[in-house]
């Protein structure tokens, strides 16, 4: 029987290992480190550089010079920028509330492993696999006020359908509907998996103690689901804020500036007007806005539910 190694020899061994492994660690880590820096930090640093430069590509091939925080100040005083912020908050906020609520409801309604439930779940997740630009076009046809299916169905039940895409409010609601239709299945999938992982004995104990179904959900299941729900919320919030293609094909940001979101605004500044300085500054403001929102969600996550 071997005697256990002394603490001293353990330390010596570990030191030897560290010295021996260090070059290998460096060799293996450095390429990954360089790739991460190149792919992630260089563009960030470059966009930070651009955000303090006066550079419109159609006016000059190179940045015209350092302008300090002028680009940020201009953007923050631009009425279209604030319109885009408001639109983003409305669209993302509205879509998130609906998606989270419907996603959780559908997850509970489609629980189980019978073939019927599996088939229903498969059908429900279909919208998620459609390309956003195609989904936007599809909904543009559905919401057509003259020949669209939505107004036709409303008409059949005696309701006069609104001009979905021709009014500011109608267009915002249309974008929210599209986002909800396409991405509720994501919430359904994640929450469905989370529900399935809740230990059955916990629910059994609650039932034995006489807890109602609602109380079991509120005091046992919801707290257990909460971390995942918040994570899903973060994912969906980011996706919705960054969404461009579906809005482009559904409303083209209009009518007027009605569905002009922050992402749309930045896209237009950068790739249609080629104002790289202003686009970079707006992107940083957007990033701060998104980071703040995500931070808020994580702060909620720290709470003891």
């Amino acid at each position: 029987m071997n005697s256990p190694p002394s603490t001293k020899s353990k330390k010596a061994n570990s030191g030897w290992h560290r010295r021996h492994d260090l070059p290998w660690l460096v060799i293996f880590v450095i390429p990954a480190f360089i790739i991460v820096v190149a792919v992630q930090f260089y563009p960030l640093a470059y966009s930070a550089f651009l955000s303090v430069q006066d550079w419109v590509l159609t006016e000059s091939q190179v940045p015209k010079g350092f302008v300090g925080l002028d680009n940020f100040a201009k953007e923050l005083s631009d009425h279209i920028f604030w319109r885009a912020v408001r639109n983003s908050i409305w669209i993302t906020g509205g879509a998130l509330i609906l998606e989270m609520f419907l996603g959780v409801c559908l997850a509970y309604l489609t629980m189980g492993s019978s073939w019927r439930m599996r088939a229903i779940r498969t059908l429900l997740i279909l919208p998620m696999v459609i390309a956003p630009v195609a989904a936007g076009t599809l909904w543009r046809i559905l919401l057509n006020s003259r020949a669209g299916l939505v107004n036709h169905v409303l008409d059949m039940i005696g309701i006069k359908g609104p001009e979905w895409l021709a009014t500011a409010d109608g267009a915002i609601v249309s974008v929210i509907m599209l986002d909800t239709w396409q991405w509720t299945p994501f919430v359904l999938l994640v929450v469905g998996a989370a529900i399935a992982s809740i230990p059955a004995d916990l629910l059994e104990v609650a039932a034995i103690d006489g807890a109602s179904r609602w109380k079991t959900f509120l005091h046992i299941e919801l707290p257990l689901l909460m971390p995942l729900l918040l994570l899903t919320l973060v994912f969906r919030m980011l996706e919705s804020l960054l969404s461009l293609d579906s809005i482009y094909s559904l409303t083209f940001g209009g009518p007027g500036y009605s569905t002009y979101t922050l992402t749309y605004y930045i896209y237009t500044l950068g790739l249609r007007s080629f104002n790289f300085g202003a686009a970079a500054a707006s992107s940083w403001i957007f990033m701060l806005f998104a980071s703040f929102s995500i931070g808020l969600v994580f702060w909620f996550q720290r709470k003891d539910w």
């Binding site: 091939q61 003259r146 001009e163 021709a166 209009g254 249609r272 007007s273 080629f274």
Partner: protein, 427 residues
């Protein structure tokens, strides 16, 4: 002796190749040309590619992209000095890089190449010009138009001979009275395609687009009058017109539910005469586009990039693509509006398009391009969209537009284009 015979034989064999080399001075040269991916211009180019390559020995690469991508590609290619494209498709949208284009006057003079293009289209504006030199040649031409139902006009005793929008509105009033109780509207326009609304404004507005200092501007009073008149057109449109896309508006006309339509005629010409797609076959015609403004022109030009390493080979392609026979073929087979006068003087076509040609040529001759870069256009049509849906009044719309325009610089090429077309403020 044997050697001499051998050398003579080799020389004789090589002779045809020498001649071929003289016929093909650019053999082996590779050039890249771009087009909008539309199933028309690009397809027309693909159809010509094999013959061109065989005839010239030039290796041609055709890059087709959607409109927005094409504009982005052209501007970034020239602004950054990349020089990927030798022959560039564009018009005023790429006015910011017109200073980077190869002048074409010398090439045209050298080859004594004078295409029989509609005179108005060869002027600065429809044609790309920079510093007084030609840099672009139009290979397509389409003007915003007005089409009408000949049968309804006949029934109502109205003639489509208006010259101004005021006169057109008189006709609309008469149509309104005549069509009362039917589901046919006097007019239809794709108000829901927000980027199309400036075309009506430009037809109703006869003020300047660039002020005397070279900034984007509008004559306030004339702009207010034109904007209000444009909006009053909604009274003659079907319910929900502010949501109509181009296809949807076309469909309203093709299904016989509108007596007139303001549109790109090329988008609807083929379908209107197709019994499978139209209920108005042989019952429509093109009318004069009313003034005092102008019909908005879409005239794709071919430019040779100033960064091209093979401008002569690129020029061969320009001449090959822009020719009368091909323009006629593209018009007949692909519906591309021809810039050549001969297309509209072709007896066979005149007979076939008697309802369309006379006023189409009339409209093309009056048509003008605008000095707007993408950003200027976007600002204008979005604020106009706000006005159309009643989100703002006309004064706010104009004030917002001018405020946003004040951040933009008008490229020199477009200032010159505005001046040449009489769109610049005097003084």
């Amino acid at each position: 002796m044997k050697k001499l015979l051998l050398v003579t034989l080799v020389l004789l064999l090589a002779l045809p190749f020498t001649a071929l080399a003289q016929d093909q001075p650019h053999a082996g040269v590779e050039i890249v040309t771009n087009f909008m991916e539309s199933g028309t211009y690009d397809i027309g180019a693909e159809q010509l590619e094999p013959g061109f390559e065989e005839m010239t020995g030039i290796e041609l690469e055709i890059v087709a992209s959607p409109f927005v991508v094409l504009v982005q590609n052209n501007i970034t290619d020239l602004s950054t000095g990349t020089g990927e494209f030798d022959v560039i498709s564009g018009d005023f949208w790429i006015g910011s890089v017109w200073n980077q284009m190869h002048p074409l006057d010398e090439l045209m003079e050298r080859d004594m190449w004078e295409p029989n293009i509609i005179p108005g289209l060869m002027l600065p504006g429809p044609s790309g010009y920079f510093d007084g030199k030609r840099i672009g040649i139009p290979y397509s031409a389409d003007a915003y138009g007005l089409i009408y139902r000949t049968d309804i006009f006949e029934e109502a005793g109205i003639s489509a001979d208006w010259e101004t929008w005021d006169e057109f509105f008189v006709a609309l009033d008469a149509l309104d009275a005549h069509l009362e109780g039917t589901d046919i509207s006097p007019n239809v326009f794709a108000f829901g395609a927000y980027e199309q609304t400036p075309a009506i404004f430009l037809g109703m507005y006869d003020g300047y687009l660039v002020d005397s200092e070279g900034n984007y501007a509008l004559d306030h009073d004339k702009a207010v009058a034109a904007l209000n008149q444009m909006k009053s057109l909604l009274d003659y449109n079907p319910e929900g017109a502010t949501g109509l896309s181009i296809d949807e508006a076309n469909s309203v006309f093709l299904t016989g539910k509108a007596a007139t339509m303001i549109c790109w005629v090329s988008f609807v010409r083929a379908d209107a005469q197709n019994p499978d797609a139209s209920l108005v076959v042989d019952n429509w015609a093109t009318a004069p586009f009313p003034g005092p403004g102008f019909p908005f022109l879409s005239a794709w030009n071919m430019f040779i990039s100033g960064l091209s390493e093979n401008p002569d080979a690129a020029w061969e392609w320009v001449k090959h693509y822009i020719n009368e026979d091909e323009a006629k073929r593209r018009f007949v087979e692909l519906g591309v509006g021809s810039p050549f006068l001969s297309t509209y003087e072709d007896p066979e076509l005149i007979e076939q398009y008697s309802h369309d040609f006379p006023n189409m040529v009339h409209n093309l001759n009056r048509a003008e391009s605008v000095p707007w870069i993408f950003a200027a256009f976007e600002i204008f049509f979005r604020h106009m969209g706000e006005f159309v849906i009643d989100a703002v009044d006309v004064e706010t719309m104009l004030a917002n537009t001018l405020a946003d325009w004040s951040e933009l610089e008008v490229p020199e090429g477009l200032v010159q284009s505005a001046a040449a077309q009489g769109q610049m403020q005097e003084g």
